[in-house]
């Protein structure tokens, strides 16, 4: 089964079909025809195109391209994604500036080329983070007058 998806186009077709089915159900099932008329038409066209994509992807080349395809380097990506998710979840509760400071610093520490324990790199990244956040504070809070949620810290 998994071998069938070892092609980018087949994976694309599979996910497009999943989205098409979800959209079809969401727009047709238990909804008002008048209110959902346009989403229904859109969902139908998406389904037709997803079926064409699936037909095309599974038709061409048969199972000849059964090589391992690596679309995402999860090991590298996951720490960054985790920082992003934690940032978005805590943003309102902890405060925009505190969260941004830690997120910026975390990304620099995790993805910087030099060792995590290099004291010079640590100080440099801390400095860059602090300066960036001060610039953002002046720009948004003072110049653009955008009041971001302060949360429990700031």
């Amino acid at each position: 089964m998994m071998k069938a998806f070892q092609s980018k186009d087949r994976m694309a077709a599979f996910y497009a079909l999943v989205i098409a089915i979800v959209l079809l159900i969401a727009s047709f099932y238990g909804t008002d025809a008048e209110v959902y008329l346009f989403p229904r038409i859109t969902a139908t066209f998406i389904t037709v195109l997803a079926l064409i994509l699936a037909y095309d992807a599974f038709k061409q080349g048969g199972f000849s391209e059964q090589r391992e395809i690596v679309l995402v380097d999860w090991k590298t990506l996951l720490p960054g994604l985790a920082v992003g998710i934690i940032y978005v979840l805590l943003l309102e509760r902890v405060g925009f500036y505190t969260c941004s400071f830690f997120a910026f610093f975390a990304i620099c520490m995790i993805y910087g080329k030099r060792s995590l324990f290099d004291p010079r790199a640590f100080v440099l990244k801390l400095l860059v983070t602090t300066v960036t956040l001060i610039v953002l504070y002046v720009l948004f809070w003072k110049l653009l007058n955008v009041r971001t949620p302060t949360g429990i810290l700031f």
């Binding site: 994976m11 008002d32 346009f38 994509l53 940032y87 925009f96 993805y111 983070t129």
Partner: protein
């Protein structure tokens, strides 16, 4: 000569500061390998939200012009085009750098970008108003088909796969239907309180363009890219500029190709640069020199990709069909200031529109001056580490999105859409049609529902949507756009199969 009436508006201290700041930022962002001009403009939109419409558009326009030209810096110095529009520039530009003539190549870039850019803006000035008048003849059905045509064109011509491009556009339309029905006001697909007001254009723009870029940057951050930045070498500025201006044939080919490609909706700078390079090589007396450091290759490619900028705004400002992905983002910038493409831009909002267009002309001058100065000191731009760029874009994306409506929901929507787009892009889908779907979806739906009501009270809905010269022409254009792209794709596939 309406454009002359508002020329003075550009020369205020505030507008000039924005032009200089936007041009400098655009050149630096454009020069950073991996950061696309489209993302740079998308990220800047929230800042313009708090400005006067004219000021906001001046900043976006300057960024658009400068990012395209700035991409040449990395193309020449490290052989990594800063933007797709600079792919052709790298072919001879990097060879010149190899020969120790990097500064000379950069001088050619900015001089020819200036010439092409100015010619392109004149096309924008003289061709936009008559085309905008055409839009006066449009009723609900024509506007519906225009919206569909815009999505179709950018989904087919601007995408590598026709089906994936069209699917991307339709996903965008589906996303735009979240929230209230435009006629009946009833909510749809509001499964969470965060979706109550639908998807804001800016949240979508930043999510779809900036977040995938952040994830790509962090994905590549640990790769050992020991790119060597070439020394700029010694070159006389005046001599290089005069030599460049004397290359009339290369400049003419580049500018003409850029203008033609720019007016074609969805085509973009990449096609302009490559076609101009190819034509310059074919028409050259020494075609064998191309690819070995021929200045005409750089001149044709750069004049073309900047000549494309102005004309790419012609279909955008008149019919809301963007000529390039960055122009699609600019459409979002227009809409958040309450400016809708069409004749109103040149009547009700004439002052804002002409000030914006005039500022593009002045932006070319700043691009030339700042670009030439930056040419001497551009090596440092290449050395900015990817993780600093990723972290900065990340924070700017969150702050920018929040600042539009002071809404936490927008940040959530932006992040979700962005992560979704990152994975979708890995599978060959592109963000530009999705964005256009989100922007043009409501226009399509609103006019579809209006047309349906009128059609039901007359000869029938189908007949109402398909009758009349304009409707028929627009439907034919949709079919031709899809048909041509399917034909090109199958031809390219056959070629690939033959080679394999």
């Amino acid at each position: 000569m309406d454009f002359l009436n508002y020329f003075g508006n550009v020369f205020t201290f505030y507008h000039m500061a924005l032009l200089i700041g936007g041009t400098f930022a655009g050149l630096v962002l454009g020069a950073l390998p991996g950061l696309s001009p489209t993302m740079a403009v998308a990220l800047m939109i929230p800042f313009t939200f708090h400005m006067e419409p004219a000021a906001g558009l001046i900043l976006l326009g300057a960024m658009y012009t400068a990012t395209v030209a700035g991409g040449a810096i990395s193309a020449i110095l490290v052989n990594v085009p800063g933007a797709p529009a600079n792919i052709a520039t790298a072919m001879d530009g990097h060879q010149l750098a190899n020969q120790g003539r990097a500064a000379e190549a950069l001088y050619y870039c900015f001089t020819s970008s200036f010439v092409g850019g100015v010619l392109g803006i004149f096309v924008l000035i003289f061709f936009t108003p008559p085309l905008a008048d055409l839009a006066l003849k449009f009723g609900p059905t024509e506007l519906f088909w225009i919206a569909i045509l815009g999505i179709t064109i950018i989904g087919t011509i601007g995408s590598k796969s026709v089906i994936k491009g069209l699917l991307s556009g339709l996903f965008g339309i589906a996303l735009s239907t979240i929230g209230a029905n435009p006629m009946l006001g009833e909510d749809r697909f509001v499964y969470s309180e965060h979706l109550e007001s639908g998807i804001h254009i800016v949240a979508a723009l930043i999510g779809l363009f900036a977040v995938p870029q952040i994830l790509t940057l962090i994905e590549q951050a640990r790769e050992d890219k020991s790119t060597s930045v070439y020394a700029l070498g010694e070159s006389k500025l005046v001599r290089a500029v005069l030599y460049n201006l004397g290359r009339i044939k290369a400049l003419t080919i580049g500018s003409l190709v850029g203008i033609i490609v720019g007016v074609i909706p969805g085509a973009g700078g990449q096609i302009a640069g490559l076609v101009a390079y190819d034509q310059a090589r074919k028409l050259s007396r020494k075609p064998e020199n191309f690819g070995k450091g021929e200045p005409d290759g750089v001149i044709a490619a750069e004049s073309a990709n900047n000549a494309m900028v102005g004309p790419s705004l012609v279909p955008l400002l008149t019919l809301s069909i963007p000529g390039s992905p960055t122009a699609a983002v600019l459409l979002g910038g227009l809409l958040i200031h309450g400016l809708f493409p069409g004749p109103d831009l040149f009547t009700i909002h004439a002052e804002v529109t002409w000030t914006f267009i005039d500022s593009l002309l002045v932006a070319q001058v700043f691009m030339l001056i700042i670009g030439l100065i930056l040419s001497r000191h551009s090596g440092w731009i290449m050395k900015i580490p990817g993780h600093y760029m990723a972290a900065t874009i990340f924070i700017l994306a969150a702050f920018g999105t929040y600042s539009i409506q002071s809404s936490y929901s927008d940040v959530l929507v932006m992040a979700t859409l962005g992560v979704f787009m990152y994975f979708a892009a890995k599978l060959g889908f592109s963000p530009a049609p999705v964005v256009l779907g989100i922007i043009l979806g409501p226009i399509a739906e609103d006019n579809f529902l209006q047309g349906k009501l009128i059609g039901e009270s007359g000869d029938g809905v189908f007949s109402y949507f398909t009758s009349g010269v304009l409707n028929t022409s627009l439907i034919v254009m949709c079919i031709v756009s899809i048909g041509y792209s399917v034909y090109s794709e199958s031809k390219a596939r056959k070629m690939r199969d033959r080679v394999a």
